[in-house]
Symmetry: C2
Subunit: 692 residues, 2 copies
């Protein structure tokens, strides 16, 4: 054992407990609005074990979150709860019971050689011994439950008086705790928060508000500063106080995960550059204890939203801690009775997210640790196959697919495509674990369901996958969803692919996708189809449209047809719309994956492909994470410069004439396409001629 | 709605949360020794609903354990967390979210007509709406988590000085909190508790101890009294204090459930009377938040122990609250991964306990409320049937049956008998619920397994059921267990019955049952066989033997061959034995059910049978609960007097000549047996002549 001692716990329980707390942070005008699914809970009663072999006795220090008792060699009547213990020399097994019904039980033992880390095992007394969960917590005085995000003070950038009350403007959407400095006098202070100015100025309709007594604030102040207990999402705060209440100033404590901004994108279109940067900030605000859907609303962890946030994250912060926490929290505990967030598709996105996690990070240890939970979830999912072998929703399931005017009764084709992808993920994991039988079984099921889906849903005349099949009859509805997922996941023949692009994706006769949620996948599919120029146009109009309306982060939804403050309403609630929504940050992914064009081709970017595409721009440059490494790329209509620090890359370019490269061989790949191998640590400069 | 408002919660969660807390109360010399099974937890996030129809608006008061928000008619963006709310007139649905991660979320609403009770529904967001759990908590200021047992002060009956330190004697085994009055001075106080005098006088080996500082005690005193935080099981306390520490006196706060002693037994043998009374006290001490195995050790809820305590309770306190709490806590929550208390047989005893609950109480509402949990458990159990249809332990299961020198590998016959009885219980419940299909299926399985068991295990030559069958081969071991359960449950033909009595129960060649746990069932089976005289002898020697050694409550185990303090040891620990063990109170059941002879013949004693048997005594009299009613009975060798307050009874007596009855007709039942119908509210006096 070499590293520092770290706090350890039952694997997943730190995350599951944190998720429980975070899932009740949403407020509707000051009143709790908890997530409407079962919140899973940590095991309160667990036991750790570890076998050591010491040449001489050794003194260890023990800290626990909860009540603990330690004993050696199974002698459980001879227990110690002292914080120091002398381990006898020789080979012995330490067992430590820890009980904690408030926070996840955790243990920290530090000795000259015996120290807690993830090589210790733990059980919840269900005949399982698992490697303990652990993270970066290595301070015995700071146990896991104390985990908080980082904070930093921020000041408002503007202040005006409206109806005699100060309206503070923090310049852009933000998240954190308002702070009152040196409050005096007596009476109440009421704060009306707004993601928009209009919201803050609507005391009767704003979603977030606070109310407190000046005297309480003064009493609870620390160095004259009263920091409000609950963090809020806002840009504006309108502060009403009773006469006689005074303060020096109001500032805030911005709360955030200290991610590294590991990507950049800068191009010939300044508007696109602003969209990119605002996307990064939008994603960052939603990158918290978990990836949230939106920081004002719902402040919940949704699997379908997280699936997209994960992908954006791989092209920006590459923060794996938030990713792992989110994956663990979504899976929760058994028994599985409902699907993730009550939605059938959301269980499936979890498998695909796990697949992506492995592809982008190469971290198979995480997969290994939670593989049994994946197996359990897949068992649960597969129970819902109908007699044709297709996955259907149960009465209690929400089969979501998208907010749109279609029925999701019976077997929905998009669900089958997601299931196939999920089974492929399971095949991969089982294979990596050496369980060839399981791998073959998952693979056979994937193949069978894919075949059935194409046989029953593919419509030759209309050139795409029909939407659903009820009671053995495929309905004539054509939607884009199944076809575009099939395209993205590579399930189409080249002929089907062409048909889907022309007859489904680009045919105005097929119902338009209106939600930003599903447009993420649609725009990705269009890029997969080489329609970068179309996508660039969409980015400029849709995301650009929000910026023109004054957005500082991207919204949950945007409809250019609405007027003024109508933009802020949703679900019949005047300021119900989230103005900082993770899925609004999709340009990070689209510009990173499809314009800069970097995609791992083996887990953890051991190999990768870079196929930059200007998509109508005259130049662009950018940086992206390659796992722990980095790639920088600069491109205009005649040259490409590339530099990377990790992995073996294959640059793929289309050129109207054979390109030249100063540092590597250019290989013709046919049909005007060329490839160059990119080795880490070298600079490549390629001259080519844009095929456009 | 008529009754008072009561606190409501998710059904079972009050009990499950209480069980979680109680399962970590055991101490090994002051150090936590938690139960070694998964402790289930309450749902933290739940929602209540209730539909009302009011002619005029009504003001309600709302109290919650946890954070709540209330809204009407599904408008969940318009929530209130005020403690007063005006319900509009008309028909509306109230929904209340309650979150509580510390204690089971609970709700209390009181209005002129709208009030919380078990007609409200609740969900844990798993697509289930269940009737809320509730009990007697009707004070908004006293929420369910404040539930504590009753207490009353007790003084020691004796005190002596040993080595200069006071040894207190409370006269008999007790349970509660030691109290120090007017502690002064500084220094430490150490308390060594003993269920026996020897234990208290062994500071280095006693199981229970306390240590505190005099100054702390003084600071924490209330009206000069410092009550220790943790309750202990003890009779003696030896108190060591540092020089200079003083106090006025040491007393205790006895903690108990205020049960009614609804049974009595008094007979011609004073020793048996003492055994009966001491049994009642032993059971009472173990009748707590739940039925415990023992109050010093393990202080846990074991299903096999509880099965016996339930039966004793029906013949004494008839306390259904503790019974229901215990049944709920044992079942816990899904997923079922291990058997109750890790023991296969203990899952089965739960069904049989549920069956007994219904038989003795007639309370089908309780069965209805938890039926789905019974179904789930049975599904879990039935998955373990082998290819012959017999139930086998999995590698992680403890197949207990009894502490004895036999192997429980393969299919154990006693387990099959318990399974048959369990399936019969499920058949009954399903039938009562109108699910004829399920009833038929359970019934068919019960019949099939019974048939298979007798076919594969019954040995004609040896006249009983062999012990187990491994890999398709029945092993030659003969034990009493399966045969005696089969006898008690009525599964034997009269010929098999005779054979079991002679060739198994009374044959000294069959290994003796040595544990008091299984002797409970053995002695019951002997009574079922009419061997009351043998049983009376056992009571006097085994239980009487403990009394002769100074017992004030009955022990976990008693071996007359041991010398002196050896009696107190167990599991290699000097004072490891529990001297107050619920299963030691078996005489309550044996004397009530088989000597006084009262047994319900339909649920809730609507009809019952009373077949008194002096078993060698010259006279006896006693009282027993008949559900809410009561029966009193007095008998000697020539007369029987009976009076009851409920139910229709059938008195069954053996008499050497036709009996005479002053108040009812005597019917001949053949073979020297006679019957008299006992109606409530009448006195019966029967003269007969003992057949002995």
């Amino acid at each position: 054992m070499n590293g520092n001692a770290t706090w350890i716990w039952y694997p997943g329980d730190f995350e599951i407990r944190l998720h429980e707390k975070m899932s009740v942070q949403r407020r509707a005008r000051g009143v709790m609005y908890p997530a409407y699914w079962r919140l899973d809970r940590h095991y309160s009663n667990i036991q750790f074990r570890y076998t050591y072999d010491l040449e001489r006795e050794e003194r260890i220090a023990i800290a626990a979150e909860g009540t603990f008792s330690l004993f050696l060699d199974g002698k459980d009547n001879c227990r110690s709860n002292e914080t120091q213990f002398t381990l006898p020399a020789g080979r012995h097994e330490i067992t430590v019971s820890v009980f904690n019904d408030a926070e996840a039980p955790a243990l920290y033992i530090d000795g000259p050689t015996v120290r807690t880390d993830s090589s210790w095992e733990v059980t919840s007394y269900q005949y399982e011994w698992k490697n303990a969960g652990s993270w970066t917590f290595d301070d015995p005085a700071c146990p896991p439950s104390r985990f908080r995000l980082s904070t930093t003070p921020l000041e408002p950038v503007g202040q005006e008086r409206i109806d005699g009350f100060p309206l503070l403007d923090f310049g852009r959407e933000t998240f954190g705790y308002l702070r009152f400095h040196n409050v005096t006098g007596s009476g109440a202070i009421r704060v009306y928060y707004g993601e928009s100015r209009a919201e803050a100025l609507s005391p009767d309709e704003c979603m977030s508000l606070d109310r407190f007594e000046a005297a309480d604030a003064a009493a609870r102040s620390d160095n004259g500063i009263y920091t409000l207990a609950e963090a809020k999402a806002f840009r504006y705060a309108w502060i009403h106080a009773d006469a006689g209440v005074r303060w020096d100033e109001v500032t805030m404590l911005y709360e955030f995960v200290p991610v590294a901004y590991r990507s950049s994108f800068e191009c010939s279109d300044p508007k696109l550059n602003r969209i990119y940067d605002m996307s990064l900030y939008t994603l960052h605000l939603n990158t918290r204890e978990f990836f949230l859907d939106g920081i004002k609303r719902d402040r919940w962890v949704w699997s379908g939203d997280a699936y997209q946030a994960f992908l954006m994250n791989y092209y920006s912060f590459f923060d794996l801690d938030v990713t792992r926490r989110t994956l663990i929290a979504l899976r929760g505990k058994d028994p599985l009775t409902r699907h993730f967030n009550t939605i059938l598709d959301y269980s499936l996105y979890w498998f695909i997210s796990l697949y992506d996690y492995y592809l982008y990070t190469g971290d198979f240890e995480f997969i290994r640790q939670y593989y049994d939970r994946a197996v359990g979830l897949m068992e649960f999912v597969l129970k819902q196959r109908n007699e044709e072998g297709l996955l259907e929703g149960r009465p209690q399931d929400w089969v979501f697919v998208d907010w749109a005017d279609f029925q999701n009764t019976g077997a929905v084709s998009a669900i089958q495509i997601l299931l196939v992808r999920s089974l492929e993920a399971m095949r991969l994991f089982a294979g990596r674990l050496g369980d060839e039988e399981a791998a073959a079984s998952y693979g056979a099921m994937a193949d069978e369901i894919k075949e059935t889906t194409f046989r029953l849903f593919w419509d030759d005349a209309r050139g795409g996958l029909l939407h659903h099949r009820v009671d053995g009859e495929t309905k004539p509805t054509l939607t884009k969803h199944a076809s575009m997922f099939a395209l993205t996941y590579g399930y189409l023949s080249s002929e089907q692919r062409r048909s889907v692009i022309d007859n489904v994706m680009l045919d105005p006769g097929v119902p338009r996708i209106r939600t930003p949620y599903m447009r993420f996948h649609e725009l990705a599919a269009l890029c997969e189809s080489g329609k970068h120029d179309v996508v660039r146009g969409e980015l400029l109009s849709y995301w650009g449209g929000m910026i023109e309306l004054g957005a500082t982060t991207f919204w949950e939804e945007y409809d250019p047809a609405l007027a003024d403050d109508e933009h802020y309403g949703m679900y019949g609630v005047a300021f119900g719309k989230s103005l900082c929504h993770a899925w609004g940050a999709g340009p990070i992914y689209l510009l990173g994956k499809y314009f800069l064009g970097v995609v791992p081709t083996s887990p953890g970017y051991e190999t990768y492909r870079v196929a930059p595409n200007l998509g109508g721009l005259s130049r662009m440059k950018g940086t992206l994470p390659l796992g722990r490494g980095r790639i920088s790329l600069e491109m205009d209509l005649s040259s490409i410069r590339i530099e990377s620090t990790a992995g073996m890359g294959t640059l793929a370019i289309a050129s109207a004439e054979p390109p030249a490269c100063d540092a590597g061989e250019v290989r013709a790949a046919g049909d005007g396409h060329y490839e160059v191998t990119i080795e880490p640590g070298r600079n490549y400069c390629i001259s080519y001629r844009s095929a456009l």
